[in-house]
Amino acid sequence: MTIEIPKEKYTGAVREVTLGATADEGGTRAHTLTIGGESTLPYLQFEGTIPNRPALALEIRDRKPDDWSPLLLQAWGEAMDDPGEWAKAAEAAGADLIYMVLSLTDADGEPNTPEYARAAVRKVLDATSLPMAVVGPGQAEIDNELIVPVAEEAEGERLLLGICEEKNYRTIVAAALAHNHLVQSKTPMDVNLSKQLVILIHDMGLPLERIVMDPTTGALGYGIEYGYSVMERLRLAALGGDQMTQQPMLVNPGEEAWRVKEAKVGEGVPENWGDWERRALDWEAVTAIALVHSGANMLVLRHPETLRRVRSVLDDLLGSQS
């Protein structure tokens, strides 16, 4: 008996999106980074092609965060005191790109300033030659105030800028248009909202090749199943030919996993939760792996060990690449 493996025929494919620009392309990055392009469900290479690997980003901040787990502080050590050093450490840890989140305030609680954000981004651009994403602290007015000068500072670098949300996307998209960058389009776990925001951003004149879609996810145990299924549905729609769902998907398991109790808290938890460090690392890695299988094209992580673990899974799923 010879069994034939049932293969699906898809009419659509995920759109390719390229971040970063080399000197030839008007930037200063050593190389560019392309994600998306696959014409099959995650890692089913027997029925389609997967031209690009998912990108693994490490999150850094423009200053040492006040609320990160001691486990993360331990992992990054003194590098966290300087965004340039932190970016270098992230590059050394194997990141494909640096995902920089600007802080809401400085260490004394004073509001962050455009000057500071601009300087921090410049430091990172000078310290590493990796492609880069820069997103605001997540409050519309301040995001816009910080991201616009950053876009200008990094003119031509094809940064991924964010975060565009339904209530606040125009300013960031305009900055991306003016200075040749890309944007992260984030919507709360809903197929139609994802599509809709991509359409709105595209309507402003930004080519689809410069939009990365963030469908939002929950951490393991905290709603991951919603994001997981929304991603599977988006990907099936994309392969089915629905143009506005064909953007590569970015998810942030690092942020989600490290803010839940299982990862954050070492004491006063049930004994059967087991060893804290292992639990925290598993929380981030298991969250990430579930999202790898639901179609993530870019994963933002926080712990270098998680990056190593997820990388080795991807190497096996896709065959290792130098």
Binding site: E225, S229, V260, D275
Partner: protein, 447 residues
């Protein structure tokens, strides 16, 4: 795949005798196809036709049940490739592998420890499903003793890894009274294994190099009279597992390919180059059935059990949080008290924000039938009466010394009514979104 009315009609006597109560055989066939009639209503159907009809109506993936002295694990009978299409029904069983070469006391200690493992996840009790005991000694008496040792401390279901008829028999004897899975029949030993499985009435796992080999073996075993089978495709890597398990699931569901219409057993820790936790996670998401772990590590097991719970949640029936009063950051009697609903995502967003903010707090989670704040309010499941009732049920007056209750901003309209329902209480209207809780508390809560 279910037969159409016309296909069924061809198998019926076509005499229109009306003995079934329907005017014609075709009408009866249509009712059968719609599952509104049962074949037994036709007294004249041939045995051959009955067998065909019965097998056509069998589920595409056989349900396999393992029973311990206490507790059972059911796997199989899945109907979809993606959980959003309907739901995944039977959670993969998580087992821990023990070897009979281990000293008896050590086996007991290890099994007892793993048996006692329980974690609470939003009011759901999560635990290891059972043990896979391996006849690594190749000695029937040793194997028998090891199983007895495990059984003396645990009533959970067992998988017996016994690659020969003799070992299998010794294992079955020791496991008497339960319904273990025998692992495994292969090209060489299948006849003796089939005999043991059949006599004991237990399910049997099947091992082969590839899908062709598996399909051939399952057919032989079916002919030998073993119906409840589990496939062991011997996957050892992420890619291999994803491709094989996806193929098996697709063949079963899309082509009703009976020879592979069984649940799957995997050993994610079998290959030491692989990260067991991450391969097990993949298999929970992508079509695993029974997952046998090499390592028992509470931290990793917790993560896997929660992932399994999440992936196997019915998308139509979201996870609900047990209503009650929840403590965050060890609150005392002066800490703020906030009310919300028991929709899990609602609960998690709020609990997370409060937790992250560092504020100690009491969260009154009311029974809103798993709906979010606005939906529950619109449906009358989150109103003043309900909040007041649950505040009483969960004794908030005994927890806090102040008399201030913060309600979600979206239901500000409830505050007047609630003040009437809860005399002596000040009802404060909180923020609409969880993310604003920290700034709200900073501005509005003074001790």
């Amino acid at each position: 795949m279910a037969l159409t009315g016309l296909e069924i009609y061809k198998l019926l006597p076509q005499t229109n005798c009306k003995d079934c109560g329907y005017p014609t055989c075709l009408a009866f066939a249509m009712k059968l196809a719609a599952k509104q009639a049962a074949l037994k209503d036709c007294p004249h159907v041939s045995e051959e036709a009955a067998a065909k009809l019965e097998s056509a109506s069998a589920p595409p993936i056989t349900l396999v049940e393992l029973k311990g002295d206490d507790g059972a694990v059911k796997v199989g009978n899945e109907t979809v490739l993606f959980r959003h299409e309907k739901t995944f029904y039977h959670k993969p069983g998580l087992f821990w592998r023990l070897r009979d070469t281990e000293d008896g006391d050590e086996l007991k200690r290890a099994a007892a420890e793993a048996d006692a493992y329980h974690v609470d996840y939003v009011g759901i009790d999560l635990y290891l499903d059972g043990f896979a005991v391996e006849a690594a000694s190749s000695d029937p008496a040793t194997f028998n003793a090891a199983i007895s040792a495990v059984k003396s401390v645990s009533k959970k279901p067992l998988i017996l890894i016994a690659p020969s008829g003799d070992l299998a028999k010794a294992g079955i004897e020791a496991a008497a009274g339960s319904r273990p899975l025998l692992h495994a029949a292969n090209g060489e030993n299948w006849e003796e294994m089939a005999e043991v499985a059949k006599e004991a009435g237990v399910p049997l796992a099947v091992q082969a190099e590839d899908l062709d080999g598996l399909a051939e073996l399952t057919q032989k075993l079916k002919e030998a009279g073993v119906e409840e089978l589990v496939l062991d495709p011997g996957v050892t890597s992420y890619r291999d597992s994803l491709e094989q398990l996806t193929s098996i699931r697709r063949l079963a569901l899309k082509q009703t390919f009976r020879p592979l219409g069984f649940p799957v057993i995997t050993f994610p820790g079998a290959n030491s180059e692989v990260d067991e936790t991450l391969l097990a996670a993949e298999q929970i998401a992508k079509y695993g059935g029974l997952i046998v772990l090499e390592e028992f590590n509470p931290a990793s097991l917790y993560a896997l059990l929660v992932l399994r719970q999440n992936i196997y949640t019915d998308p139509q029936k979201p996870i609900q949080v047990q209503p009650g009063i929840y403590e965050i950051n060890s609150p005392d009697e002066n800490a703020p008290l906030m009310a919300t609903t028991n929709f899990s995502i609602t609960y998690f967003s709020i609990a997370n924000e409060v937790e992250g903010s560092g504020w100690p707090g009491w969260l009154l989670v009311t029974d809103a039938e798993g709906m979010s704040v606005l939906t529950a309010w619109a449906a009358g499941k989150f109103d003043a009466e309900r909040i007041a009732k649950d505040a009483k049920t969960f004794d908030v007056e005994g927890k806090v010394s102040h008399r201030k209750l913060i309600i979600p901003g979206h239901v500000a309209v409830l505050s007047g009514e609630l003040e009437e329902e809860m005399p002596g209480w000040e009802i404060m209207v909180g923020p609409r979104e969880a993310v604003d809780i920290n700034s709200y508390l900073k501005a509005m809560w003074s001790n």
